[in-house]
Amino acid sequence: MSEVSFKNLIKVKESLDTCFKCSLCKGNCPVSEQIFWATFSPRGKMLILRSLLRGQGTLTDRVRDSLYTCTLCGNCDNTCIAGISVTDVLAAGRRDLYEARKAPESVNSLISTIKESGNVFDLTKEDMDILGLNPRMKFSENADLLFFKGCYATYHSIPNESTMRSFNLLKTLNVDFTILEAEECCGSPAYLLGDMDTTKRFCEYNVSKIEETGASRVVTACPGCYRVLKQVYPQLVGTLNFEVIHITELLAEYIDEDRLVFKKTGNDKLDVLYHDPCELGRHCGVYDAPRKILESIPEIHLEEFDKNRDEAKCCGGGGGLTISNPNLANQIAQLRLQEAEEKNIPTVVTACPACQLNFSASKDKYNMKVKILDINQLVGSVKGL
């Protein structure tokens, strides 16, 4: 026990002590739907951490597996009738394990990659230039709006060119924007996996680079980047000199201002289900903007998952689960997609490249028919735009 200081857990001791162990948090937990062991339920994790903090437990590998087998989706927080943030406690536990070099090897390896390459995919600058950007694209030098690309949206293995679609969309709407020439990882993966030093390093770097541009607004298409920029950066470096918005919020603004209008094309209606990404929805409260966009498209008929908005189930791709347990991440996604198939709705739209990536991997793995679309992809393909 002396190997781990638990200095982060001590900060959330009140939450651990306040937990009445009712286990209602298990009700909407994506991991508990897949794993029967109470050890992997939110209450099990709380009990383990409480026992460690009180010096009554043993730090076995199973503790590490339990803590990192979690998407940090926040459904437990949302369900807690005592108002406890379970995810804050779990994040603190992860930090203590990581700082004591007790995190899983897959986690250490990913963080090393991010530290060295500045992105989650271990890409060199040359790789990034080839994969991520159209070199002929020109950006404004004095734009008030900066587009933060994010690794997942720009470089992930599905060739859906999310960032290029965002660029094209902004260009189509005559938005004057710029980018960081040497953008580094936002720090979200390090933050979720427990490495606050690395998170802070990326935060300080990106904040200084953004401030150098003079942009007053930063827009991103990645909810992971969005949450860290908006919520975590101010905790690490104080109030920011720029506003952070998600691209769906920008598009919703444009719809409100009649600067983005979708015309009727006469095509058949497409039924879609909107999946609320945890980082965008539950963690940042952005539920209406994506729905406003979808409802504004005449050819779209928006349906809802049974669990939506603050109760939306996780896609399985959050909290580093795709790193620590990719099979489980895919199984969680499969359960979410099954609902679309049961409802006979052919398309699931999300506003998160990580959700899209995990959903797509699961769809391929389980041979599902449902189509997965990023909201930018959908908007960009609407002929009436």
Partner: protein, 468 residues
Amino acid sequence: MDVIILSPLENVIIEKLAEIVGEQFISTDDADLVSYSSDFMIDVFLKPDVVILPENTPQIAAIVKLANENSIAITPRGAGTATHGGSIAQGGILLDLTRMNKIKELDPISMIATVEPGVVYEDLNRITGKSGLWFPIEPPSGAVCTAGGMVGNNASGLMALKYGTTKDYVLALEVVLADGSIIKTGKSVLKSSSGYDLVHLFVGSEGTLGIITEITLRLIPKPMHLSTAFASFPSLNGLNDAMNAIYEIRRVLTPAGIELIDLQTQKAINEVEKEKLVPEVEILVIFEIHEFSAAGLEDQKDLIEGVARKHNCNEIHWAKDDEERDRMWKARKAATVVSVRSRTSTLLGDLIVPIKHVPAIIRFIQEVAREKDLLISIVGHAADGNIHYLIPFNQNESKKAFDAGDAIVYKTIELGGSITAEHGVGLEKIKYMELEHGESLSLMRAIKKILDPKGIMNPGKIFPAEKQ
């Protein structure tokens, strides 16, 4: 009930248990033992020696047989949402039954479902709901609690007034007895007068007589029209006003549920939820009504409103839609914990008295709180006499908290009530069993001795420790 608990279990036994269920579903890792070391609310943390997740009845039979041969304690557990420590194991084998979560048969014609014990209450109702059917217990833990746990505890919930408790729906059971034999008792029929009612011997037995491995449940049609109201009784005499209204309403109709929340709890709910979920008045009553026609629902609303106003209810607000109704029940469900956040431990009571004595027992609890300088919150299923009181305390207040709990229980017995209406006896209520049951406790012991001669089935629960 001398139980030999091998602690730690000999490796050879662990190996045999692993052969039965597979390595993946057995663990002695401390993280796993800790995860099963407690229940809702109770301030007790005890570890089993081994946790096992069986998949089917033959596996359980083999495990129990092995345990019996080696005098090893076995504690069955569902979701662990009970409040009195009934599914906590001090050493021995803890059987987590959540893996056995199949609905084996749903017969919409006979309106019967046969399920494994690990089926989650709300999952079952999601499936039966497709046929318009319902298992109507509605425990506040319904999103996670299991059918097996509900039967083992004879759970009830927010709608017991109209729909009764779990026992009213259990038609048949499959049980693995302490020697590893498997019995089936009861039939998938609505009535039987054939011999002793063994089904209801096992219902509420908290795993002390055997492991329930299959449950056949009666279902009922789910009403289409529901409504919920907050009724405020603001005067200092609000308790009497509310109960007089409830007595009068009960004589002419049976609402699905009638809940009562005291002022202290109302304030705590609003404080924790950071929004005014409930009005703050002397006594708040929640009425839940169910009907099969919209007109019938309106008739019930009119009647309740008329009677409530006659008894000085100054405001009765019916939910405008499902969303508001959900918010109302969210407030009631939160009531169990919000009022106790300021202390490190809590004593949760589950008494039931004849309905006419509800005002007397509530006043008595309030007197005890004043006398002992404790904050005691009161919520309850007012119309069936089941009152929950919560005594939050810090360690330096534990003696007076437990003294207060004792005093309330003694008063409950004096008023002709029972020490637990729906939570079970577990570890916490054992000390009151003799007081409540007197001589009939000996008969309970005798039954236990016949079915479990070595005392391996969930030892230390329900009965006081035997004198050596």
